[in-house]
């Protein structure tokens, strides 16, 4: 690609939040008609950078120029006006409105005189955009009635219809099926050929290598490198992202495992989980892989009694296990870690100690059935030392802790009921590199002490590094059982996204 002046140029961009530096003098440029990948671990600052481009956050320092002239959006509207369309990771959709109204939210065409919205025009435009996505849905459908992946496509259609010079996509494929992903990548290429620039953020490096011309690597809010995709490879990128050799992070001593703790047989539940069978042994980490929305959530929540079981049986320690509420699962010594720490994990108004003991209130009763401060303190101290929780005191509010420490407290909460079986969803999502390694270390220690772990992770290196065996799900069914030599990134992706099957009698 010919090297003419950059369309979008970011220099010395710094964003500070009270307490943390989310971005530290980051600089990179995007050329016209190029697909520029933005890669980095969770918490590397990608989303912050995008939110600055989208006018959501204002930088503390640094400058951005768009086509040579300074670009300083103070509100999302400015970005849209400047022709920068951002597709955010978290949906920016309205379940109660129609698809068309969602696509045009804030930009509805309306009659100068009647002031009424031109619905026909909106519908036609939608259909046009949907055609390019070959996405077949009636623009008059209420958005809430669409599936998550369909909603994701509406998000994309929304950005395309802005007709922006720069289109920014933050994890656009998170909720898409493989075929949808391929279609999207085609669209991205098409946009580039139309001369638009695309900033493409993704954890899936294969996507990056499929569409991107150049990639910028961020780590801990700093710019690490910008390089041409042509002269790099996945391993190099991963090294740059993580900052050290990936293998070194994970060293599971895959010694002998104990008895089978949990067996799941033909479990059917929720919208998509269909006849899943698996077992977990004491001291073992069973990893659950697959593209987002392949049934991981249903599986873990059904095991924890948070989702009604429609079919199949389970045993825990050899005895039948069919929890209909989380309380029942907890009573059997099952611990659960939700992947959404912020809304389904912490109790923001409670202290770390109170957060930790939420699942064992019955066990810390003292005189007259009242909660015993000493017992509670004792329980907290125990886990604080065991999990190396860093808090000023047991009465500090959990919302004041870093993501990593919050996660450790929640790990303690999950362990407290008995620590027989741990069901971990994305245990390291949104925690910094250091805490991540520490949590991996903890999981190793826990399994060493005989805890059985069932871990869902969308972070492939983690899944591969941490799991003794891996079960890959696709559309709610088991499509791969990988152990020993089979546990490769390539195999996981192949099973999750193609019709390759490993270790399952199809």
């Amino acid at each position: 690609m010919t090297d003419h002046a950059a369309l979008l140029e970011v220099t010395g961009l710094t964003v500070e939040f009270p307490g943390v530096k989310a971005l530290d003098s980051v600089g990179f440029d995007v050329r016209p008609g190029e697909v520029h990948a933005l890669v980095g671990e969770n918490g590397a600052g990608k989303s912050t950078l995008l939110k600055v481009l989208g006018g959501v956050y204002q930088p503390t320092a640094g400058s951005i120029t768009l086509a040579g002239s300074p670009y300083t959006p103070s509100k999302p509207h400015d970005a849209i006006a400047a022709g920068i369309a951002v597709i955010y990771q978290e949906f920016t959709l309205f379940p109660d409105l129609t698809v068309a109204e969602n696509v045009f939210a804030g930009r509805e065409p309306f009659g100068k005189f009647s002031r009424g919205i031109h619905y026909k025009q909106m519908r036609d435009e939608c259909n046009r955009v949907f055609k390019t996505l070959d996405f077949d849905v009636d623009p008059d459908t209420r958005l809430g009635d669409l599936s998550v992946s369909e909603q994701q496509l509406v998000e994309i259609a929304k950005a395309l219809s802005v007709d922006g010079r720069v289109i920014v996509m933050d994890e656009p494929t998170a909720a898409l099926s493989q075929s949808e992903v391929e279609r999207l990548l085609e669209i991205v290429k098409k946009l580039r050929d139309e001369g638009r620039s695309v900033i493409y953020v993704s954890h899936h490096l294969e996507e990056v290598f499929a569409v991107a011309d150049r990639a910028t690597v961020l780590r801990d809010g700093t710019h690490v490198a910008t390089l041409d995709i042509a002269d790099t490879d996945q391993d190099q990128l991963v090294k740059l992202m993580v900052g050290r050799d990936v293998k070194s992070v994970f060293d599971r001593d895959k010694s002998s495992f104990g008895e089978v703790v949990l067996t799941v047989d033909g479990l059917t539940s929720g919208r998509s989980l269909r006849g899943v069978s698996l077992d977990v042994r004491a001291g073992e980490v069973l990893g659950i892989g697959g593209v987002a929305g392949a049934g991981q959530t249903e599986l873990t929540q059904a095991i924890f009694g948070a989702l009604p079981i429609r079919g199949g049986t389970m045993t825990l320690d050899g005895t039948p296990f069919a929890p209909s509420t989380p309380a029942q699962a907890i009573a059997r010594g099952v611990g659960f870690l939700h992947d959404d720490r912020k809304t389904a994990g912490i109790f923001p108004h409670l202290s770390v100690a109170h957060n930790l003991t939420a699942t064992i209130l019955e066990k810390i009763r003292g005189w007259g059935g009242l909660l015993s401060t000493s017992k509670e303190q004792g329980a907290y101290n125990g886990y604080r030392d065991r999990l190396r929780i860093k808090a000023s005191s047991s009465s500090q509010l959990i919302s004041q802790l870093s993501g990593g420490n919050q996660q450790k407290v929640l790990l303690g909460r999950a362990l407290a009921p008995g620590g027989k079986l741990l069901v971990l969803n994305e245990p390291t999502r949104g925690v910094d590199i250091g805490a991540k390694a520490e949590i991996h270390q903890l999981v190793n220690e826990l399994t060493a002490s005989g805890v059985a772990v069932l871990m869902v992770s969308s972070d492939l290196p983690e899944l591969l590094g941490m799991s003794d065996r891996i079960v890959v799900l696709s559309q709610g069914a088991v499509v791969g059982r990988l152990s020993g030599e089979d546990r490769t990134e390539e195999n996981v992706i192949a099973c999750a996204t193609t019709d390759r099957r490993i270790g399952v009698t199809a």
């Binding site: 309205f94 309306f110 919205i117 669409l146």
Partner: protein, 331 residues
């Protein structure tokens, strides 16, 4: 949230379907009407039916404004006090010979100002709407009483009277106003950017901000609209009684909210049921009228309204199998 639990059905919804949500309410309404036609002497007389429509119309105008607010996922409790203050202002102005026109304009202006204050307290001071308007309810009532100093302001003004007994084209003026308001609100709610943005804010406020909608400006505007509707209400009440008083309109806010909720507008925001609100007003006024005809004391009217309110929501909720933890309203 719906996003997390999508259903597979994909009914495409037209403007008409959207507008007619809450139409099922017509069934209980029909039943009540039939029941009264049989049981209550003089119910079916034209004068009486006109009375029902008249009473409902007076309630519809503020009800429609409240629909907008609840669609946004918020409440305004201060409207009852606004009725007292604006009515008093109008009558005082008229009594002091400023002329009816000036009086009405002043009343509407005061209503708008009360709304503006609510909006500013909520958006700029970050006070939850429920509490903010609860406070202004008390304050505005106080201002109204201080303003009238406890003396009813008596007027006998033909122009003002027109808001109670005027009959353009043979239709009582309030009924005409209500019809106009209904048409206007249908258009505003389902056909204009403003209306859709209000629904958008109620549906997902953060998304609204990310989509670049002027969220705070819209919220303030909605409260101003309610203030103005409250002023209209005050004018109509004062027109009926030919006086302004700091005592008028106590508890009106609950009446307005009640018809909106019965009408099927979701308390969680996002879904407006304009026609439902009108039917809600008709249903409630029909019942109280019927009970009056039957010499049934007001007490039973309260009870029936309460049961109606709870029943309506219970049916909705059971149909949608809402989990308990999802019931809390977002004020």
């Amino acid at each position: 949230m719906t996003v997390l639990a999508p259903t597979k059905k994909k009914s495409s919804i037209s403007f008409v379907q959207e507008a007619l949500r809450g139409l099922p309410l017509a069934i209980p309404l029909a039943l009540v009407v039939i029941g009264l036609a049989i049981g209550a002497p003089g119910f079916l007389t034209s004068t009486n039916l006109e009375n029902v429509l008249f009473a409902a119309s007076v309630l519809v105008i503020p009800g429609l404004a409240m629909t907008l607010c609840i669609t946004m996922g918020e409440f305004d409790l201060s409207i009852g006090s606004t009725v007292a203050l604006t009515g008093a202002v109008a009558c005082t102005a008229i009594a002091s010979g400023m002329g009816t026109g000036v009086g009405l304009v002043l009343a509407l202006l005061v209503g708008a100002i009360v709304g503006l204050l609510n909006g500013l307290i909520i958006t700029k001071l970050g006070v939850t709407p429920f509490i903010a308007t609860l406070a202004t309810l008390v304050i505005v009532r106080g201002v109204a009483q201080a303003f009238t100093n406890g003396r009813d302001v008596i007027v006998s003004d033909p122009v003002l009277k027109y808001f109670a007994s005027g009959r353009p084209l043979g239709i009582p003026f309030p009924i005409l106003l209500a019809i106009v308001a209904l048409v206007f609100m249908l258009w505003l709610t389902y056909r204009t950017r403003f209306g859709r943005w209000v629904a958008a804010i109620g549906s997902n406020r953060d998304a609204a901000r990310l989509s670049g909608l002027p969220v705070d400006r819209i919220r303030i505007l909605v409260y101003v609209i309610i203030g103005i509707a409250g002023a209209l209400w005050g004018i109509m009440i004062s027109a009926q009684l030919q006086k302004g008083s700091g005592q008028l309109g106590v508890g009106f806010e609950l009446d307005a909210i009640t018809i909106v909720v019965i009408g099927g507008t979701s308390l969680l925001g996002g879904r407006a049921s304009v026609v439902g609100t009108v039917l809600g007003a008709l249903l409630i006024e029909t019942i109280s009228n019927g009970l009056n005809l039957l010499n049934v004391p007001p007490a039973y009217q309260r009870i029936s309204i309460g049961i109606l309110l709870v029943g309506a929501l219970a049916i909705q909720a059971i149909r949608r199998k809402v989990p308990v933890e999802a019931l809390d309203d977002k004020h």
